[in-house]
Each structure stands twice: as C-alpha cells, then as structure tokens.
C-alpha cells in the first residue's frame, strides 16, 4: 500500500476559504439557505465550513444539519459488510429552503442519489446544491455533478481518496492511497 499527499493542511485551508466565499457569493446572508453534511464523513467538512462562515466571515444565521443516508442506500443486502447507520440531525424546516449538501469525496454519486431521496422526508426544498472537497471525475455511475468543488482528482478505481480532519485524524490532509 502506497500513499501520496494530494493536499496538505495549508492547501486544504485555502480551498475551504475559497468554498466559503463561493457559498457567500451565491447565498448572501444565508437567510434562506441551510447547510447539510452527509454522514458519516461529510459532517466534518460541513462543521468546518459552518464555523468559518460564522467566525471568519461573520455570518450569524448559518443553519447546519446532518443527514444520514443509510436507510436510503441502494446496496442494502448487497455487500459483505452490514450497513451502519449514523445520526440524522435536522432541527429546522427545509421546505422552500435552498439546501447545500456537503460531502468530502464525490465518487460514484450513489450517496448523493440516496441523499436526494432522504431529504424529501423532511419537506420539499426550493433547490439543492452540492459541495464536495474532492471530485473524483470519470468514476461517476450516475449523472450527478458538484456545484462547488475543492479539487478535481483523476483516480483510478483501485485507488482510494482519504480526507483527514484535524478534529478526527489529527491533521488536515487529503491522501491518494494505492491499495
């Protein structure tokens, strides 16, 4: 197993600031927008962006939730490993809101497909956008593309992209791992 650094802490930080600014460009004061981190890994990115918007860009009313998609996945009973559910926390109304889905890596697009179905349980959003830190292009199984992307990566299917966060893994970094 070999691994290569795709992004280091400094690069991750620059990209996060750019993504935050792009969000502000489209959503102004976030009065009609909610951010939703896709469980399990999207919540770290969502938390970080939300903190940045609140503290560095002084936007007070950013609403943040977490959506678990386990029960909406299309591979139930198909894999070797059982699916493990995570917490969903959406304590606001999404009806008629602009929703931004946030996930760390966009790969096949199947998680986002599940999230698009899952969010309907909470109401009918006005519009849904997608933000990902890493976009693995050429590996999509579904016609799903991000609206905001941190870095586009060409990785073959044997390779894995791993995003680390300081609060969880002790450092901000993105690795390309060769299995």
């Amino acid at each position: 197993m070999s691994q290569k650094v795709l992004l280091n802490a400094k690069e991750v930080n620059i990209i996060l600031h750019r993504l935050a600014c792009q969000l502000i460009e489209n959503h102004n004061d976030f009065s009609n927008t909610v951010l939703i981190g896709i469980q399990p890994r999207g919540k770290y990115l969502a938390n970080r962006l939300c903190k940045m918007l609140r503290e560095d860009y002084k936007i007070k009313n950013v609403e943040l939730g977490q959506l678990d998609i386990t029960f909406f996945r299309d591979d139930f009973r198909r894999g070797d490993k059982p699916l493990e559910a995570n917490t969903t926390e959406i304590d606001f109304v999404v009806e008629n809101k602009k929703v931004v889905f946030i996930d760390d890596v966009l790969y096949t697009g199947r998680s986002i497909r599940a999230a698009l179905t899952a969010i309907q349980s909470f109401g009918r959003p006005d519009e849904i956008e997608l933000l990902t830190l890493i976009d693995r292009r050429f590996s999509r199984h579904l016609p799903i593309q991000p609206d905001y992307r941190g870095r586009q990566v060409d990785a073959i299917n044997d390779e894995k992209v791993k995003v680390n966060w300081i609060e969880n893994e002790g450092e901000d970094s993105v690795y390309l791992i060769n299995k």
Partner: protein, 309 residues
C-alpha cells in the same frame, strides 16, 4: 459489531448483550425516522414479510405492521381464525404454503410455547417470535428495556419489579432475561398462586408484599391479569387483587422516591393500576407503544440485512 449473532428472533435467551445494544442503537435511528414529516424509508422494498397470528393480537400486530410499512416491506397478513388451520392443516404445511409465495420473513404469534423454535428448524425464512404461549415475547421485552434506558439513562444497575400475573406472562419471562442480560436486578411480585414455583432459579427475587417491592424498585412493570388464560380461580376476587396488588396514586406518593411505571397493555384501569397513575408523568406506557414501532423496525431491519440476495 454491526450484525446480530442470530438469524431469527425467537427469544431473548438466544441473544447476547451486544445484540441488544445493537438493536437499541439501530432503534435510536428509527425513532428519529418515525418522527420525521415523512416517516418512511425504502430499505426493505424487496422484502416480503408474512404476519402469522395464530392467536388474537391487536397492538402487537398493529405495531409490527406499522414497522414493516415504515421500512417499505411488502406484507401479507394471516390470522388463524379465518384460515385452513381450522380444517386441520399442520403448522409446517401452513407456513410452507405461505413461503412458496416467496416470503422472506415470518412474524409469528402462536399459543404453543416453542412454536417459533420448532418452525426455525424446518423452514429457511427468518422468524420473529411475536409471542409463543407463556414462553417469550422478545420484542416486548426489548421495547420495555429500551423505554427504561430512555427514561433512566441506562438499564444496568436498576431495580425492576414485575408485578402481577407472572405465571401466564411471556412478557415477564422475556423481561427477566433481557433485564438480567443488561445488568439490572429483577424482582417479581404478585399473589403466590400467580408466581411460578421455580422462578427463583432464574435469579430473581420474589416478594408478595407490593409496598415492599415498590420501596425496593426504580421501575415497576405492571402486568395485566390475564383472565382469559385462567382456567381456575387464582385469587378470591378482582377487587381483592386490586387492593393487594393495584398501584394507586396514594401508594406512589407515600414512597420516598419517584418510580417509573410501565405496563405492556391493554390496561385494566382500576385493577393493576388506577387511572390517575396510568395518566401520570410517572407512567411511560405510551412511550412504550411509540418505542415498540422503533424497536420492531430495528429488529426487522437487522434480520433482513442478513438475508442474502
């Protein structure tokens, strides 16, 4: 741990502590799901479940049906009163006929103890025991423990008394197994005639004085007096039973702590507990009903995830 150690839920005595933990954690997620504006997930859309009720049931059947529908499973219902069982068909034949219609899972209530275990040796579908005679009623015990965990934080170390007709109760037996597995202490309390002879062999305390039992416990699970199962007279009169073993508000107020009151339903108001107790904040009877759906969703989901395509 993200998988159950069993392929069927036949009784609590076949489960491990980790299984119960996994069921509770999964139920937490489903409890959140059933409080959404749209309370349904598509996980089990390719699973068919047969609800076989060889004995009458209203709330358990409704709770299972709702759990199955919330998971998007296809369901078929069967009740013995309208079937060929009356024409002399055996249990295995009945079930095999139903399974030929490509059914993946069976939820069964049966008057004979061990019916689920017997069936599991003869058919391939997953079986959930929804009550077999006076043997076990595992989902009820799971939802009872889950409700205790929700109210008191954890089950471990709690003192739980099961009051009433322990002799005819499958709820009591499953509860004893489930509570002990999780590290709670269990006592049974009731008229001597309704306490099974060798119950102390299960490691439970026996008490015939309700006041002493309530002084000891954190939670009192009040069982219904099952008149329909009583072939002889076990106590002189309902009124005398209510006086000796009925919980009243005055009795609760006279205790030096606030205990939690549970009841698996249906309640005989004025017999096991008075109306003011049943409707008080100390009673978590309706929470038990809500948790019942979440627990059954969790059990069905976890067992279904072991059915390979």
């Amino acid at each position: 741990m993200s998988e159950l150690s069993v392929n069927h839920l036949l009784g609590i005595k076949y489960l491990t502590k980790q299984d119960i933990q996994l069921i509770f954690e999964t139920a937490d997620h489903f409890k959140e799901v059933i409080n959404r504006p749209i309370k349904k997930v598509p996980s089990l859309r390719d699973i068919t479940i047969a609800n076989l009720f060889f004995e009458n049931s209203t709330r358990t059947k409704l709770s299972f049906e709702l759990a199955e529908k919330r998971l998007s499973a296809d369901i078929i219902n069967f009740s013995a009163s309208q079937s060929s069982v009356k024409k002399g068909e055996t249990l295995i034949d009945t079930v095999n006929n139903i399974l030929s219609m490509k059914v993946d899972m069976v939820v069964m209530r049966h008057p004979n103890p061990g019916a689920g275990v017997f069936l599991s040796n003869h058919i391939s579908a997953s079986i959930i025991n929804a009550g077999d005679g006076a043997h076990e009623h595992p989902t009820q015990a799971l939802l009872d423990s889950y409700s205790i965990r929700e109210r008191l934080g954890e089950v471990k170390g709690k003192n739980v008394v099961i009051v009433g007709d322990v002799l005819h109760s499958r709820v009591a037996l499953s509860n004893i197994f489930a509570l002990q597995l999780q590290g709670a202490k269990v006592m049974v309390c009731g008229p001597k005639t309704l306490i099974p002879k060798y119950i102390d062999k299960l490691g439970v305390k026996v008490e015939t004085n309700l006041r002493k039992a309530l002084d000891w416990c954190d939670v009192a699970n009040m069982l219904r007096v099952q008149n329909e199962r009583m072939d002889i007279s076990y106590f002189p009169s309902t009124r005398e039973y209510a006086q000796q073993f009925g919980v009243t508000k005055e009795l609760l107020n006279s205790l030096d702590k606030e205990i939690t009151i549970m009841h698996p339903g249906p309640i005989n108001r004025g017999v096991e507990i008075t109306s003011d107790v049943a409707d008080s904040d100390q009673a978590i009877i309706l929470n038990q009903v809500e948790n019942g759906v979440a627990i059954r969703m969790a059990v069905i989901y976890l067992l279904a995830s072991k059915i390979k395509q």
